[in-house]
């Protein structure tokens, strides 16, 4: 069985056997979970369907967060995307709308799939639902690619962290973007080592990103950081597919991410003690939701 402590090991094994990383991971996970490959695949299929439902839910015009601080971002972006005048093109603007929608669905107590966390749940569906709905990719290929994303996430979780409280936002949105980048490359027909390169470049692009949620809530800036994560996933995947490699190998990028996460002060790791959370407006918004008295 696989250990998931090194992405390069996954790449080598897949390339040796001339299969996709996702095929290797599905086979291994079925073995370790004592289930059939079909059962494990079907569980992932269910997750993809929930992701599509979250997109729809978060696109609604009246979507509002429980705190009242955010809402309607997915709707606004989708309207804008529909006009076809977006600077980053119709495909990207629609993908951005989907990431906003899923993150907004989460903030309004909707049903989501944590990927890898609730705070970063918009990135993977933003990427994958866009390839499915707007680029004609087959559903079973999309679902398979989620095993590659999941495997990369498992390595990051074991070697570094996927929790904002431990590693900052690089551990949440950073990991999500790195996972999505790998999945996108595999879907586009890239090699396993190109998947790893995309993952490495996505991690490098968000190295050091802090977790500074206003009022401690998974809303500001989390919802919009799902969009930056999505953009980095696409750009990292495109670079890898163009033949650009990461100069720092992916496993070393993950080690660096852990070190940087450890070096970040506690105030910038999900405690709402710094960054945007303690700006004058950040404090005002906190008081607006919770009143000025703490415990």
């Amino acid at each position: 069985m696989l250990e998931y402590t090194s992405i390069s090991e996954l790449v080598q094994e897949a390339e040796k056997r001339n299969i996709r990383i996702s095929e290797l991971v599905l086979e291994d996970q079925a073995l370790s979970m004592e289930k059939t490959s079909l059962e494990v695949y079907e569980q992932m299929e269910l997750s993809f369907h929930i992701m599509m439902d979250s997109v729809k839910e978060g696109m609604k015009k009246d979507q509002r967060s429980t705190s009242g601080l955010t809402g309607g971002e997915g709707f606004l972006m989708n309207e804008y995307a529909g006009k076809g005048e977006g600077l980053s093109g119709i495909f990207m603007t629609k993908a951005i709308a989907r990431a906003l929608a899923v993150a907004g669905c989460n903030a309004s107590m909707g049903k989501i799939v944590a990927a890898p966390t609730a705070g970063s749940c918009g990135i993977l569906p933003g990427c994958l639902v866009s390839l499915y709905e707007d680029r004609g990719f087959k559903e079973d290929d999309i679902i398979m690619s989620m095993f590659t994303a999941g495997a990369f996430g498992m390595v990051i979780a074991q070697k570094a962290s996927i929790a904002g409280a431990q590693g900052g936002c690089q551990a949440e949105c950073g990991s999500a973007a790195a996972m999505a980048a790998g999945a996108l490359v595999e879907l586009m027909g890239g090699t396993p080592s190109q998947c790893a390169d995309a993952c490495a470049m996505a991690i490098s692009s968000q190295m050091g990103l802090v977790c500074d949620p206003v009022a401690g809530l998974v809303e500001i800036p989390c919802i919009k950081r799902n969009v930056s994560g999505l953009a980095i996933a696409f750009s990292s995947a495109d670079m890898a597919l163009a033949g650009i490699s990461s100069k720092i190998p992916v496993d070393e990028c993950i080690d660096a991410m852990r070190e940087v996460g450890e070096a970040l002060p506690a105030s910038l790791k999900e405690t709402a003690g710094g960054g945007l959370a303690t700006t004058p407006t950040g404090r005002k918004l906190r008081d607006q939701v919770f009143g000025s008295k703490g415990v």
Binding site: M44, T66, V295
Partner: protein, 222 residues
């Protein structure tokens, strides 16, 4: 860890620690209550739970879990209304529980048969929980496994009797974690026994029949 710990869990937002983990803490109380009828809960929130519970729906999540809903149940959103309909009284208080994990809740439940109980636990990240106290005694389990709590008198041989019974009568039961705590020497003590496989229904009754055992409860994985 498996791939669905990363692509998952499927949950009601917005926070794995403040919402999904809170539901699971509530579910531990649901298992303690078992089939009996709940009348009232007093929920004490500490640390970050106390400061941000409204924005994260932690109050709804805890109450939903106590009523038996899961972290992906849409009913979480309407948990307060559902509790009202079921005639369950509830209150939320803020208090700094000294030395506790930042996301700690203490749930005092009252049943219609006049009995009550207290559970204290923490949501430690990613939807994972750690139960710290039951009825004032220290325990330590995370709800991922089937857990048996055995309340007993602190007398020599009780642990051996319980584990022997588990092994001889149900030989495929494997203990994955064991912890003992007691109030004082010779006083009341509690064993926390986590097991890999689902236990047979008769096990808890059998354990209750052992000398010096006061009570035994099975908490199936939450």
């Amino acid at each position: 860890m498996n791939v669905f710990d990363i692509i998952g869990p499927v949950m009601i937002g917005p926070s794995s620690s403040h919402t999904a983990g809170a539901v699971r803490l509530g579910r531990v109380v649901n298992k303690l209550i078992d089939e009996r009828t709940l009348k009232k809960v007093e929920i004490t929130l500490s640390g970050s739970f106390a400061q941000t519970y409204k924005g994260h729906g932690t109050d709804k999540a805890l109450l939903a879990g106590i009523m038996g809903y899961k972290s992906y149940s849409p009913e979480i959103r309407n948990a307060l209304e559902i509790a009202d309909e079921r005639g369950i009284e509830y209150s939320f208080n803020k208090e700094n529980i000294s030395g506790a994990h930042p996301n700690t809740a203490r749930i005092h439940y009252y049943l219609d048969d006049g009995s009550d109980g207290v559970m204290q636990g923490a949501s430690i990240g990613g939807g994972n929980i750690l139960v710290n106290q039951i009825n004032g005694m220290t325990v330590e389990f995370n709800g991922d496994n089937n857990t048996i709590l055995v309340m007993h008198e602190d007398k020599p041989g009780v642990i051996a009797s319980v584990t022997n019974l588990m092994h001889w009568e149900h030989e495929d039961l494997n203990i994955s974690n064991f912890r003992l705590s007691r109030l004082h020497k010779g006083g009341e003590a509690i064993m926390t026994i986590e097991i890999d496989n689902p236990p047979p229904d008769s096990l808890v009754d059998d354990i209750r029949g052992i000398d010096h055992v006061i009570n035994a409860i099975l908490i199936r994985r939450v």
